[in-house]
């Protein structure tokens, strides 16, 4: 986005009348300091926001004389006018620069007559000289800072003034006057007379001479300037209005430039020539440049180059960089890398399409909610000076508005640009009928989200709803004054004074503003620290203080109605399987875990999975009772490896028990799953389990498992017996749950029926109890 080219001359009154004090208390503040500070601010901002501007400052009332007009007439005329500018050209304006600003800073109020007309002639001359090389694309303007007490004698200058006016009109150059003590200036109440009375030295003397006529003189000057402003589309403003605005909120000047000038094809039989402008787009900060800290012979410039290396090669290896000739272009297609020949690249990357905006249908406005709209928004209007097109576009906008429809169109803003899918929304205000264009997502751009319904879940109580209601009431950022149509007429003009807080139009980006502040400070003092953020900007990053204090009762109500409890971030937990929970339930210890059972879609909130799952805090494992500790699972895929891994990690007795428990469960799974189909893995696992049980002297769980298995199908028992897997005996491992050798052998040889086995198991359990009794 370009910036408009501007050429400005600022006239600063430095004459003795400007030495008038602003108020009686402070000697340092005079009309001149006020004007000078304003000029400096204006220059600083101009440099920042529109660096392409051509600038010069004309000081009138200086003791020296240095200006182009004076030189031309060999020492005569146009005295006491000094031109400050920086340019390689001998005449005309110069680039805005920090040096110019510094020079204005050094300028003092001098003891000389300031002649308004002389200064205006010099300014106009600068611009018109500039005109020869600046061309018409530069927008020219003259700013004048004065208190209106300068010398002004139109007598005998009528011809000159007429010529000046003609010249300014020809250049379309308005005159903007910032008048100190002019009509409407509220801060400078002292006015000319009393101010001058307080002035010292020469200023007082001079002022004394004109003192009686002060008010009349100022009025005369003001009248003249007002007349000039009227004739050149300029403006006369009292200083109070302008100066405050200058300090804060800097907005870059943007050139209004079309993005698209072509046909809008609403229907193959109905085409409208349109122009489109970007309406709203994020404004980025300027780009930082790089240079060497210590310049070399070639200067301090640096370049950023891209070198290429093979993946997996370290950065430090010298010959890692691939030579340019060995590099080709390509694309990824999933995992495949496809090399593309140079002549094919264009064929693939360039999508051929014309510059056009073609409607493909109309859709109900309710089908396109606001969250589908993507930036940037463009304003589509009829071609300039084309009344029939404007009428057609207005009729379409009106029709769309009345039908509550949007148009859908395909839009390529230039040839071969990626076509965007867009909607055209109507704007059918009385004084503005146009279409707004917003891109909408294609199928590939959309993400489908799925969450449990907030409204279907546990309903908030009446008290909670009331609390929220009160909150909304007390934190309203708009006051209901007018109706809906309030916004109607002020749209483009940006009329202020609405009751809405933080209206986007009046709210400036704090980051940009802070950056500009920092840049301005640094430009004039390289050692200065980054300034703190201006309190005015900072204030709207916080909730409005009035609003916040008004909302306090509502907040208290919220606090009373809701309980918010922070959950500390927990370590990544292991998942437990549902089947374990079921198993525990069978063992009647499940109730302890019920609280931990989370059914997604009801409690978890993020709706990721619909599977009931158990989560647990495993960071406090040591302190928890046994039934609350982490439960392991062993995969049926690599049972033995997994089992051994877990066993290695298990440190306490309890943990080993847990692993054994998981293993027993896993073995049962393996046997169940294969339907007794002789799974090799199941038996390998059983054997491993047996040996590890002996190692750890914990035979109880293994024996329990084996008894359980004995109690099952006869083919399984036969296989166990065949493989010689027996209960663990006292001889092998003297731990709780071990059996006598006789009993083990009995199981190995006997072929029991399930019923008998269960009876046997019952018996065994009793035996175990006795056994435990004897051991303990």
């Amino acid at each position: 986005m370009g910036q408009p080219k501007e050429a400005a001359v600022i006239i600063l009154d430095c004459g003795r009348t400007m030495a008038a004090k602003l108020d009686d208390q402070d000697d340092t503040k005079t009309h001149f300091t006020l004007a000078k500070d304003a000029v400096i601010d204006q220059l600083k901002h101009k440099l920042l926001l529109n660096p392409k501007q051509q600038l010069a400052v004309v000081c009138m009332g200086t003791q020296e004389t240095s200006n182009s007009m004076h030189d031309e007439v060999e020492g005569e005329g146009y005295h006491n006018v000094t031109t400050l500018r920086y340019s390689s050209n001998k005449t005309g304006l110069g680039d805005g620069s920090v040096r110019l600003v510094k020079e204005v800073m050094d300028q003092g109020c001098e003891d000389a007559e300031s002649n308004l007309l002389d200064a205006l002639f010099v300014a106009c001359d600068l611009l018109s000289k500039g005109n020869t090389y600046l061309g018409k694309k530069y927008k020219k303007m003259i700013f004048l800072y004065t208190n209106g007490l300068c010398t002004f004698d139109p007598a005998g200058e009528e011809d000159g003034i007429a010529a000046l006016l003609d010249k300014m009109k020809e250049m379309e150059c308005p005159l903007y006057t910032i008048g100190i003590g002019f009509t409407g200036d509220t801060d400078i109440t002292a006015g000319g007379g009393s101010g001058d009375g307080g002035g010292g030295g020469a200023a007082a003397a001079s002022a004394g001479g004109t003192g009686a006529d002060d008010d009349g003189h100022r009025a005369k000057v003001e009248g003249f300037l007002q007349d000039m402003a009227n004739k050149t589309d300029g403006i006369v403003q009292p200083s109070t209005n302008v100066l405050d605005n200058l300090r804060l909120f800097m907005k870059k000047v943007k050139l209004q430039r079309t993005k698209y000038r072509e046909i809008l094809q609403i229907h193959p039989n109905m085409k409208i020539p349109v122009w489109s402008y970007i309406k709203c787009k994020r404004e980025p900060l300027p780009t930082a440049k790089k240079k060497l800290k210590v310049p070399t012979e070639d200067g301090d410039q640096v370049r950023t180059d891209t070198q290429y290396q093979k993946v997996g090669v370290g950065d430090d290896e010298d010959d890692a960089d691939i030579q340019l000739m060995d590099i080709a272009k390509g694309f990824r297609f999933g995992e495949t890398t496809v090399a593309v020949a140079e002549h094919q690249i264009e064929n693939i990357t360039k999508y051929q399409c014309d510059r056009n905006m073609v409607c493909i249908g109309a859709v109900s406005a309710s089908d396109i909610p606001s969250h589908y709209l993507m930036p940037p928004c463009e304003c589509v209007v009829a071609e300039e000076h084309n009344k029939p097109a404007a009428e057609a576009l207005a009729a379409v906008a009106q029709a769309l508005e009345e039908l509550r429809l949007y148009l859908i169109c395909k839009y390529s803003y230039c040839k071969n640009a990626q076509p965007k899918l867009c909607i055209l929304r109507p704007e059918a205000k009385r004084t503005k009928k146009c279409l707004y264009l917003n891109p909408i997502p294609y199928h590939e751009d959309m993400r489908t989200l799925d969450f449990p319904n907030l409204e279907a879940m546990k309903a908030p109580s009446e008290a909670q709803l009331n609390a929220v209601d009160t909150l909304i009431d007390s934190m309203k950022m708009t006051k209901h004054t007018g109706g809906e149509g309030e916004d109607d007429e002020e749209d483009e003009e940006g009329v202020k004074g609405s009751d809405e807080l933080l209206r986007p139009r009046d709210t400036y980006n704090p980051t940009n503003q802070r950056f500009f502040q920092a840049l301005l400070v640094r430009a004039f003092d390289p050692q200065a620290p980054i300034p703190e953020l201006d309190e005015k900007i900072n204030s709207y990053l916080r909730p409005d203080t009035e609003l916040a204090s008004a909302a306090q009762p509502a907040v208290d109500q919220i606090n009373g109605a809701f309980t918010f409890q922070k959950v500390e971030a927990k370590a990544v937990g292991r998942k437990r399987y549902w089947r374990e929970v079921l198993k525990q339930k069978d063992e009647n210890v499940f109730h302890a875990d019920l609280e931990n059972l989370k059914v997604e879609g009801d409690d978890d909130g993020m709706g990721g999975q619909r599977v009931p799952k158990v989560e647990e805090e495993d960071d406090s494992e040591q302190q928890l009772p046994a039934d609350k500790r982490t439960k392991h699972t062993i995969s049926t895929g690599q049972t033995i490896k997994h089992f051994n891994d877990l066993l290695d990690k298990a440190k306490t007795d309890h943990e080993v028990s847990d692993v054994f428990e998981a293993m027993a469960f896993c073995i049962e799974q393996l046997i169940d799953d294969r339907e007794g189909g002789g799974s090799r893995r199941a038996f390998e696992a059983i054997e491993e389990f047996r040996s590890k049980s002996i190692d750890k002297t914990k035979p109880q769980q293994f024996n329990d498992l084996l008894r359980k298995l004995y109690g099952r199908r006869s083919d399984l028992v036969a296989e166990i017996q065949h493989k010689g897997i027996a209960l663990i005996t006292f001889e092998e491992c003297p731990g709780p749950g071990a059996v006598s050798l006789a009993e083990a052998q009995q199981h190995l040889s006997a072929s029991e029926t399930p019923a008998a086995a269960s009876a046997g198991q019952q018996q065994q359990d009793n035996d175990d109890d006795e056994l435990m009794g004897t051991i303990t």
Partner: protein, 671 residues
């Protein structure tokens, strides 16, 4: 590269690919998340999707299927005879291609069951009746899709029942469904896929009662499905060819899927052919959190929210660099050099901004300091009526906000109350948002969204849409007077309007007649049930079509250079040409396209006046001598960039850079 280039304003979008996100990269796009480790639990960065496709007889019923056909520039739907099986496999291919287009590194696998093959893994006896598709020379069953794999699966789509019967005779084709689930679990467990991926099994079948009355088989299947669902998602896509019995969920699947019908109303309706694609779309992606933030209601009152991407434009990828020796991808490395070409350490470089002809030094750290305002989070500033959100003020793609109960208990019930009341009062909440550490703040509106299930293909969940608001700098004030935007009915015109030279004041009857004609034309263009989901991006589609062809060594499609209109929509069905012509005549008279009034007309392309066109210079006339002359009188500046580039190219010099750089290069050459 600049500190500000794009930075700070890109609000941490999900990346479209180039990131190598390992397990730690739970948040794509390198979003720097402060203290959100809990989010990793539910949202792993990648997905592993396994398709299980039934190969029983019913899957090979041939039926009419609507198929997209390109006729010249417009795509239309035409019915074609296809089998359910073919349709499913085609959809799987589409699914893989979409993944590729989105640049995701997700793994995809396909298994066929009820087929006479045996799937044997390293351990165990193998699974009867199941065949897992593998591309030649590839190891794992679940792979990041590539061209070969897509092509292989596309070919499988053409298989007939006869071919399957004749080629796969290893064992009884009847597979146990429990084994299908078991095999899926096993595949997900291998190489720890389940630890780093969100695993999903999508089952496509016509069979509503796959186990019959066999109790053991039923229990086995249910048990296996439960096991699977403890670590992965199981989703059913019931297929119902015409003329078959309706798919009955109660016989088997309702026990396996473990979800009530109220959660999945769409499950009760079996799929017709052709619906499949849309159903897959709607389930295409698992949502991933973009950010996990605190939401400060007032001082000391905080709830927690998660932020999700709703809309993210996908652009065609830029070309990567490949080493010609072995066709491997090369990684770029940015180096800073001085003008002599010697590389420079980053420490010896400083940053500055130009201001008024001076270089103003502001270091990187200071820029970071300028951009830092507060800790990441959302802060409630107040409420405004919904109408205060102007649609022409859209500056960000919208995000979705949902309460995060895992960080602050009570968040959800608060949001539930807030949602109800905000909808009731028709207001939006204005918040200040700092999406992540070191991001710049912006204001946004939270727009409440009630759950709506208007269409099967797209469900709007309940929650809040977050719509970024512009700053004053972002809004442009347009001067549109000369475009005659003030067109009005004479009955509405005020005196001021009469005086406005740009206003067009229309006679009431004439104006209403024109509007009536426009309405008639537009009504004819109306599309019902529109959703952007219906329209794929033609440029992306074409790009990947071309890459796919190249990857498989095919010819580039002939339609490459031709523009394709995006819609599969039937263009303006009901709109008669007469309506449009009538409207045109009412505003333009006999003209087809009106010309602007004579007088001021800015030349196209130039802003604020353009000036005379530079005279064309024949590039061949630019000899070295001529250049030297031009350098001497500085008329080299009048040459166009094309001229300069042509000259540089002829002298084997680089042609990159701005005009100043080009001129300098020419000067250096002729020094």
């Amino acid at each position: 590269m600049s500190e500000f280039e794009g930075g700070g304003f890109e609000q941490g979008e999900e990346s479209s690919g180039d990131f190598d996100y390992g397990e730690s990269g739970a948040f794509e796009g390198g979003t720097d998340l402060a203290g959100g480790s809990d989010a990793k639990e539910w949202h792993r960065s990648r997905e592993a999707v396994l398709f299980a496709v039934d190969c029983s007889e019913a899957m090979f019923d041939k039926k009419d299927t609507p198929v997209e056909v390109s006729e010249g520039p417009i795509k239309t739907l035409r019915n074609e005879k296809r089998t359910v099986f073919e349709d499913v496999l085609k959809t799987v291919c589409e699914f893989m291609k979409t993944r590729i287009i989105r640049g995701s590194r997700d793994k995809v696998g396909v298994m066929l069951y009820n087929i006479g093959a045996k799937c044997v893994l390293e351990l165990g006896d193998g699974f009867n009746g199941i065949h897992v598709l593998k591309a030649d020379g590839q190891a794992g069953e679940l792979q990041v899709p590539d061209a070969e794999r897509v092509a292989a699966i596309e070919k499988v789509g053409d298989w007939t029942l006869d071919k399957i019967h004749s080629e796969f005779k290893e064992c009884d084709p009847k597979a146990k469904l429990g084994e299908v689930f078991w095999l899926a679990s096993t595949l997900f467990s291998r190489t720890d896929i389940k630890k780093t991926h969100n695993c999903r099994l999508l089952v496509f079948t016509t069979e509503d009662d796959p186990v019959g009355r066999h109790k053991a088989a039923f229990d086995f299947a249910v048990q296996r499905a439960q096991d699977l669902q403890a670590e992965a998602d199981l989703e059913l896509f019931p297929m119902q060819p015409d003329g078959r019995e309706p798919f009955n969920f109660d016989t088997f699947w309702s026990d396996v899927l473990q979800v009530g019908e109220e959660d999945h109303p769409e499950l009760t309706a079996a799929l017709k052919l052709g619906d499949l694609k849309q159903r897959i779309w709607s389930r295409e992606f698992k949502q991933r959190t973009l950010n996990s933030l605190t939401f400060e209601i007032a001082e000391g009152v905080e709830v927690a929210v998660c932020m999700f991407t709703e809309v993210l434009p996908q652009r065609p990828p830029t070309a990567i660099k490949i080493c010609t020796d072995d066709n491997t991808e090369l990684k770029p490395k940015r180096v800073i050099t001085d003008l002599s070409g010697a590389s420079v350490l980053p420490e010896s470089v400083e940053t500055y901004f130009e201001y008024g002809g001076e270089q103003v030094k502001i270091s990187k750290q200071e820029i970071a300091q300028i951009k830092k305002f507060d800790e990441p989070g959302m802060k409630l500033l107040g409420f405004k009526p919904k109408s205060s959100i102007k649609l022409d003020h859209i500056v960000e793609n919208s995000k979705f906000i949902y309460p995060n109960e895992n960080r602050v208990k009570g968040s959800r019930v608060f949001f539930s109350a807030l949602l109800r009341k905000m909808i009731e009062r028709d207001v939006v909440a204005i918040v200040r948002l700092i999406p992540r550490a070191n991001a710049t703040p912006y204001f946004a509106a939270l727009v409440p969204q009630r759950e709506s299930k208007k269409l099967v293909k797209h469900i709007e969940p309940s929650g809040f849409h977050l719509i970024g608001l512009p700053w004053a700098e972002d809004i442009r004030h347009l001067q549109l007077g000369t475009h005659h935007v003030a067109v009005m009915d004479s009955q509405d015109a005020t005196e001021a309007d009469q005086a406005d030279p740009h206003a067009i004041i229309k006679d009431h009857d004439e104006w209403r007649e024109q509007v009536k004609n426009a309405k008639k034309m537009i009504r004819g263009m109306k599309i019902d049930d529109f959703h952007p989901q219906q329209i794929p991006n033609p440029m992306l589609q074409r790009h990947y079509q071309a890459i796919e062809s190249l990857a498989l060594g095919d010819e580039l499609p002939s339609s490459m250079s031709q523009e394709v209109l995006p819609p599969p929509l039937t263009m303006m069905q009901g709109s008669l040409p007469e309506d449009a012509i009538k409207f045109r005549q009412s505003v333009y008279g006999d003209e087809l396209v009106p010309k602007p009034a004579a007088g001021k007309k800015r030349p196209a392309g130039g802003g604020g006046g353009g000036g005379a066109k530079k005279p064309k210079i024949d590039p061949d006339s630019l000899t070295k001598d001529k250049m030297k002359e031009m350098i001497a009188d500085d008329s080299i500046q009048t040459l166009t960039n094309d001229n300069l580039k042509a000259f540089l190219r002829e002298n084997n010099l680089p042609v990159s850079g701005t005009k100043a750089v080009l001129v300098q290069r020419v000067k250096d050459l002729l020094k």
